[in-house]
Every structure is written in structure tokens, then in C-alpha cells.
């Protein structure tokens, strides 16, 4: 198709690509722009802030240098001789620190740990299950395979009521440890089918002869999995982990059902939703928080773009 393209074609192509990029990227630009604007500037349709304002980011990251004055009445109370010098200092210190205005770092850490645990457990379980379904032969295998396919497509919202009732029924919902365990298990099972599905498809593309050769050399099946299959699948395993991680990182439904009253353990989606209703005149801060939530995914995406895009087509992709 080495046809020489006309100028009209080039202009059209350019316009179409520009329109496409405008559509895809505009919301991100809007978020960035509003996160940098002062309140009086919000109604200004221009995307460029009249005065650039970093306060929202500083506040979220606890970097505001503004000295907060301890209210007079608290000072009077702290003079009570029953309060020791250390206690007094600790209270004042805590008051003056800006860290817990909106503990963004803490929420990020919560979300990261939960998502990471989900990704690791899910990928590990899925590797063995997928290998079993893809390579080994046994009665009922196709039923198991179809079941995985089926549960892969059952949305969390259909399981919301029974899972909640199960957690209440066995007494897990009453305290934070039980709640976190419930939530982790739910995240694992929400990501497990897609992980099995993606890995299963991938394992089928690896020639059987590789393992057979290894087994002729005296390796057992298990050893072959660890020495041949897993090293060969490293990019795919990372992609699957990335998908599981993102699913958990984004999850709002179950987090809101289980974690709402445990503020210290909020994940980012829940924390942002709460932040939105916890302050007046919030747009700049909520947009800054949006940018910061986007960042880790963006970084991971840039680094692994190549694999991820191919993983998306391989898996049919759970959302």
C-alpha cells in the first residue's frame, strides 16, 4: 500500500487524531488545571490558572508551612498540673503537625498494601490453577474450566448481600481485623478468575516440548513449572499482577460496605469520596487528590505499557 497520500488526506488524518486526543486527554487536563486554581478562579473557563496555586497539593501531602496557633482555651487546659510535661508537648506537637489533616500518605499505603497482597496471592493461586487447567488431564477438567469462565463474569454487586451476611454471620464484620481479612479474601476472589483465565491462555502458547524435554532430563512436573514455565512467563505474570493490582486499587463497592466506619483503614477511593463531603470549597483539593491517585497507576503503566497492552487483548480483560 505504498500509495502517495494526498494533502487533503493528511489534513484529515491530523484533524481526526487531534480530535481523538482532545477527547481522551481533556478530562485529565481539566483535573490538573483545577487542582492548580484558586477558588475564585474556578468559574474561569480558561484551563490556565490566573494565579498558580500549589496549596491543595501542599495540604494533601502535609507540607503546609503555615504555623497553626494553639487556641487560648486549650493552652489554659494544658496548664492543668495533672498533665505531664511530655504529654503536653505531645499534644501540642500533634496539633501543630499538618500530617493528619487528610492523611493522604496513610490512605495510599493502605490501598497499596491491600492491592499488593491481593495481586500476590491471586497471581500465586492462579498460576497453579491455570497450569493445571491448561496442561494436566483429569476428569471434570472442562467443568472446572467452564466454572472459572462463568464466575469470571459474575459481578461483585451480585455477591454484595450474601458476602456481607456471611461476614456478619461468622462475626468478622464487628472488628477491624476480621473486616480486613474479609475484604482481602473478597479482593482475591474478585481477581482470581481473570488471573486464571489470562494465565491459562498464555500457558497454552508455550510449547509443550519444553517441559517434556526437561522432564526427560529428570525434572518432575513441579520442578518443570518452576524452572521452565514461570521464568518464561515472567512478563505475563507481571501483567496479570498489574491487572489484579489495578482492580483492587480501584475497588469502591466492597470497601464502602465493609470499611466505612474504620477511617484509619480507608482505601483511596473511599477516602476521596469522604474527602469530597468533608470540606467546603473542595474542588482544588479533590482534583489534587485525583492527580495523586492517578500517579502510581500512570507510572506503572508507562513502565510496562508494552506488556499491558498485549495482556489486555490476551485476557479479554475483566473490568
Amino acid at each position: 500500500m505504498a500509495v502517495k497520500r494526498s494533502l487533503g488526506y493528511k489534513v484529515l488524518l491530523f484533524l481526526a487524531v487531534s480530535a481523538l486526543l482532545l477527547f481522551t486527554l481533556f478530562p485529565f487536563v481539566q483535573i490538573l488545571s483545577t487542582s492548580l486554581k484558586h477558588q475564585v478562579d474556578w468559574g474561569n473557563p480558561s484551563l490556565i490558572p490566573t494565579v498558580v496555586n500549589f496549596e491543595a497539593y501542599k495540604e494533601l501531602l502535609g507540607l503546609t508551612s503555615q504555623e497553626v496557633e494553639l487556641p487560648e482555651t486549650i493552652k489554659i487546659m494544658l496548664q492543668n498540673p495533672a498533665i505531664s510535661e511530655e504529654q503536653r508537648a505531645a499534644i501540642i506537637e500533634k496539633f501543630k503537625s499538618n500530617a493528619d489533616i487528610f492523611p493522604f500518605g496513610r490512605y495510599t499505603l493502605n490501598t497499596f498494601l491491600l492491592s499488593m497482597a491481593t495481586a500476590l496471592i491471586s497471581t500465586a493461586l492462579a498460576t497453579f490453577a491455570a497450569y493445571s487447567l491448561a496442561r494436566l488431564d483429569y476428569r471434570g477438567r472442562s467443568i472446572f474450566s467452564n466454572t472459572v469462565m462463568f464466575v469470571y463474569m459474575v459481578g461483585g454487586v451480585l455477591l454484595m448481600v450474601p458476602l456481607y451476611q456471611m461476614a456478619v454471620g461468622i462475626g468478622l464484620a464487628g472488628h477491624i481485623t476480621g473486616t480486613l481479612v474479609s475484604l482481602l479474601l473478597i479482593y482475591v476472589v474478585q481477581t482470581l478468575p481473570v488471573a486464571i483465565y489470562m494465565l491459562g491462555n498464555y500457558f497454552r502458547t508455550i510449547p509443550k516440548s519444553l517441559e517434556e524435554a526437561a522432564m526427560i532430563d529428570g525434572y518432575s512436573r513441579i520442578e518443570a513449572i518452576f524452572t521452565i514455565i514461570i521464568p518464561l512467563s515472567r512478563p505475563m505474570l507481571l501483567t496479570v499482577m498489574f491487572y489484579c493490582f489495578v482492580i483492587a486499587w480501584n475497588e469502591y463497592l466492597f470497601a464502602s460496605v465493609f470499611l466505612k466506619q474504620y477511617h484509619d483503614f480507608h482505601t483511596l477511593p473511599l477516602a476521596l469520596q469522604t474527602l469530597f463531603s468533608s470540606k467546603n470549597a473542595i474542588w482544588d483539593r479533590i482534583m489534587a487528590a485525583s492527580m495523586l491517585t492517578l500517579l502510581p497507576v500512570l507510572i506503572a503503566f508507562t513502565l510496562a505499557n508494552r506488556y499491558i497492552a498485549s495482556g489486555g487483548t490476551a485476557g479479554g480483560v475483566k473490568e
Binding site: N44, M77, I83, T274
Partner: protein, 453 residues
């Protein structure tokens, strides 16, 4: 033998002492306090008050949990289901009455706390709003309260020769005049989204028209000609609202100079003054020629406040926030009582109220005269003047709500509030084309179902 016994004895004593101290350490009672002050700067003050209390009472730990006021009812239900109810909550009087009726409030403990703090020190109007139907128990201790009114642009009113928005007629006329949708400018903000704010604004109008939920005999009289008239008037006013369903959040448009009037509690005093302080650091030349935003450096000076609205009768409306101890273990109850009594210590109490000067008004009659009270950290009382503040506080004695009729509280009204029947009715009329007659009839039916009458 002797020394052996002796050493054994001393060993036992040491062990005992060890056990005792460790059990003492473990015995630190943790109580959970749910507050509806979710704003982070207020949380900070509450946390500091709690830490100070913990420093004074080494055996008690306080866990402060902020809960959005619109979610309080459902969160309580979920917590009750999971068996993780808090020990003490801060909530509006309507909700406290509803919780009281559900039997989760510890009436005895509340009575004890009132006695300790001094029942006579409270404004009597405030106490009435938390009284149980038996006339002697209380479902909570009054903590603080705000009154609601219309805040408006005095300068815009003067330019157009409009009278202050204190009657239905004046309000409608001004709303009409000040609405200029082509300039992205709106006459008024009233609540139209199905949530608490809408109920508050609607109630204010209903009261000023003599409309009530219950009569003195406790019969449901919601579907009345007065209520219908109010709803129709409300529908008319909604035309001058910013587009679509709105709630208190839209008051940002007022701060941006795009709105003429808005219903709000006295909480706005804080925000108005602060907005001005914040803007002080940016001079208006930064924003010169800015289209879409009208920068106003004199917003406090140009803002007027009307707390009493009149149609058939003059009405002022407000919300009382109370503290209620919930049923807990004896150790937790004792700790809760200590904590609540501590919160009414003048310095702790004033610290609490200063989180939102003007918004959180004292319910103890002797506090306004306390030397520290008028010296709030942000200097807001100074901006508005002491007279204005005292007027607001005294206004609380005449507060009306749907829950109290002739000095008697009807907890059913709280249950109705919790289910948001009134705001949903308003929404259906303004946005779903339901006729006011039909909507009121349906709302009354829902209320009847709920209270079983």
C-alpha cells in the same frame, strides 16, 4: 524454711504487682465517639480535646470517628447490625430522638450527665427538643445549635431598591429580580436534592406558614392546606435556583459572586470571614478582567442576614446538636460519662464551640458571659460584633422545629427525618413533575406507614 517462705512470698507479691499493673494497663477502656463534624480542621480540634482528656485520665482512650450527617442514620444501622455501635454520638436532635425510640440510647446515663453538668444551666428550649415522650427522660444532652436564615447581597438589594427578604413576597420578588440566567447569575439557593438541607429550608417556610407535622394531640397533620401552599411556593422559588438539584454545597456560587440569596446556617459566618482573609492575600488585580467570576473583596460587609421569615406567622428555624450516651458495658458507660462531663468544662466547651464561631452556639446560658468566649482564635466575633452574636444565641430560645409542639417532643418526627421523606417529596415535585397535591398525599402515607398510625 522461713527464708524460703519469705522469698516465695515476695515472689508472689512481685508477681501479683506485675499482674496488677499489667491488668491495669490492659484495663484502659476505649470508648468510641461518633461526631458529625467531618471537616478536617474541626476533627483536629476534637482530637486535641480527646488527647487532653486522655492525658488527664490515663485509663481511658477515646476514638473519634467522623460520620457525615447524611449518613449517620444508615451507619448507625450498619453498626448496630455488626455489633459495633459507638459509646457516645454527637448528632442532630431529630436523629437522637429517633435513636432514643429505637432503644439504643442509655437514658439513665444521659439523665446522670445532665444532673452533673447542671440541668438549670441549659436553655429550656434546647432541653425540650431532646425530651422523651414520658416528659422526664432525655435522649441526649444539648451540645450546640445553629439557626438558619437567608443570607443576601445587601449591595445588590440596595441597587435595585429591594426590601430585605423577610416575607414570602419579598423573597420571591428579589429572587425573580436577581436571577439573570444569561449572565450565569441566580436569585436564591434553596435545597432541592433529596437530603437534609432541603428538609431544613422547607421546614423553615412551612413553619412560617403555620404548617405542622403533628398537632398537640400527636396526630399526623402533614397533609394540610398550609403545607400544600408551602410546597407550591417552594416549587416557584426553585425556578430561581442554580440549575438542577442543589444542596448547601452550591453556596460556593455565592462566594464567587454569582448568587443573590442563599439559605444557610450561621456556620457561614466563619466561611465568609475566612474567605475574606484568604482573599486578602491575593489582591483583586490578580483577577482583573476575569470572566465568569466576580471578585468581591467586601463580601462580609455586603452580606445581610434575615433569620425570621414571615408569612402567616413569624418563624425561626434551627438545629440542635446533642450528645447521647448509648447503651454500653458499665466500664464504658462510666468512661463515657467522664468524657461528656469533661466536654462541658468551660474551657473544653468553648474550645469546641470556637471550631465554628457563630455556627456552634452555646446551650449553657452562662457561657456567653465567660471572658474567653468572645475571644475566638480567628477573631470572627470581633468582625461581626458582640451584639450580633448575642442576638443569634438568644434567638435559640425561640427556635421552632417539627419535632416540638407546645413544649412536647414527638420522636416520630425524628424517624420521619431519618428516612428523608420530606426532601424526597420536594424533589419529586420540582424535578419529576409530580403534582404538589399528589406528592403531599404520598408523603403523608409514607409517614403513616413509618410510625404505624
Amino acid at each position: 524454711m522461713q527464708p524460703a517462705i519469705k522469698s516465695l512470698k515476695s515472689l508472689a507479691v512481685t508477681l501479683g504487682a506485675l499482674l496488677l499493673t499489667s491488668s491495669l494497663v490492659q484495663a484502659a477502656t476505649e470508648i468510641e465517639f461518633w461526631t458529625n463534624q467531618t471537616q478536617s480542621d474541626r476533627m483536629k480540634i476534637i482530637e486535641t480535646l480527646a488527647s487532653t482528656f486522655e492525658a488527664l485520665n490515663n485509663d481511658i482512650k477515646i476514638k473519634v470517628v467522623p460520620v457525615d450527617e447524611n449518613e449517620m442514620a444508615t451507619q448507625m444501622a450498619a453498626a448496630a447490625a455488626a455489633g459495633s455501635l459507638p459509646n457516645v454520638i454527637e448528632a442532630g436532635s431529630e436523629l437522637l430522638l429517633a435513636f432514643g425510640e429505637e432503644g439504643i440510647v442509655d437514658i439513665e446515663s444521659n439523665g446522670k450527665m445532665l444532673q452533673k453538668i447542671g440541668k438549670k444551666r441549659f436553655f429550656s428550649g434546647a432541653l425540650n427538643m431532646l425530651q422523651a415522650p414520658n416528659g422526664k427522660d432525655f435522649y441526649g444532652v444539648p451540645m450546640h445549635g445553629w439557626i438558619q436564615g437567608i443570607w443576601y447581597r445587601k449591595d445588590w438589594f440596595a441597587e435595585r431598591g429591594l426590601a430585605a427578604p423577610d416575607t414570602w413576597e419579598n423573597i420571591e420578588k428579589a429572587a425573580r429580580e436577581l436571577t439573570d440566567k444569561s449572565k450565569n447569575q441566580y436569585g436564591i439557593l434553596i435545597g432541592t436534592k433529596p437530603e437534609g438541607y432541603t428538609e431544613q429550608v422547607f421546614t423553615h417556610f412551612a413553619l412560617s406558614n403555620g404548617a405542622r407535622q403533628f398537632n398537640a394531640k400527636g396526630e399526623l397533620t402533614f397533609n394540610s392546606p398550609q403545607m400544600l401552599e408551602t410546597l407550591k411556593y417552594y416549587q416557584t422559588l426553585a425556578q430561581f435556583n442554580p440549575p438542577g438539584p442543589q444542596t448547601w454545597r452550591a453556596r460556593d456560587y455565592y462566594l464567587q459572586g454569582k448568587m443573590g440569596m442563599f439559605f444557610y446556617s450561621t456556620y457561614i459566618m466563619d466561611d465568609l470571614a475566612l474567605a475574606e482573609v484568604a482573599k486578602g492575600s491575593l489582591t483583586s488585580e490578580h483577577f482583573e478582567g476575569l470572566s465568569g467570576a466576580d471578585f468581591d473583596a467586601d463580601l462580609v460587609k455586603n452580606t445581610g442576614f434575615v433569620p425570621v421569615i414571615t408569612n402567616k406567622t413569624a418563624a425561626s428555624y434551627g438545629v440542635l446538636q446533642g450528645l447521647a450516651a448509648l447503651k454500653s458495658t458499665p466500664a464504658e458507660t462510666t468512661a463515657t460519662e467522664k468524657f461528656v462531663e469533661y466536654l462541658y468544662d468551660p474551657y473544653a466547651y468553648i474550645t469546641f464551640l470556637h471550631m465554628a464561631p457563630g455556627g456552634m452556639n452555646p446551650m449553657l446560658a452562662d457561657i456567653p458571659d465567660h471572658p474567653n468566649y468572645l475571644k475566638d482564635p480567628k477573631g470572627i466575633f470581633k468582625t461581626y460584633g458582640t451584639d450580633a452574636i448575642k442576638t443569634i444565641i438568644n434567638g435559640f430560645e425561640n427556635i421552632q422545629t417539627f419535632t416540638v409542639v407546645d413544649g412536647k417532643a414527638f420522636p416520630e418526627s425524628g424517624q420521619i427525618f431519618a428516612k428523608q421523606i420530606i426532601p424526597r417529596m420536594v424533589y419529586s415535585v420540582v424535578f419529576e413533575g409530580v403534582s404538589p397535591e399528589q406528592a403531599i398525599a404520598r408523603a403523608e402515607m409514607e409517614m403513616q406507614d413509618l410510625i404505624g398510625r
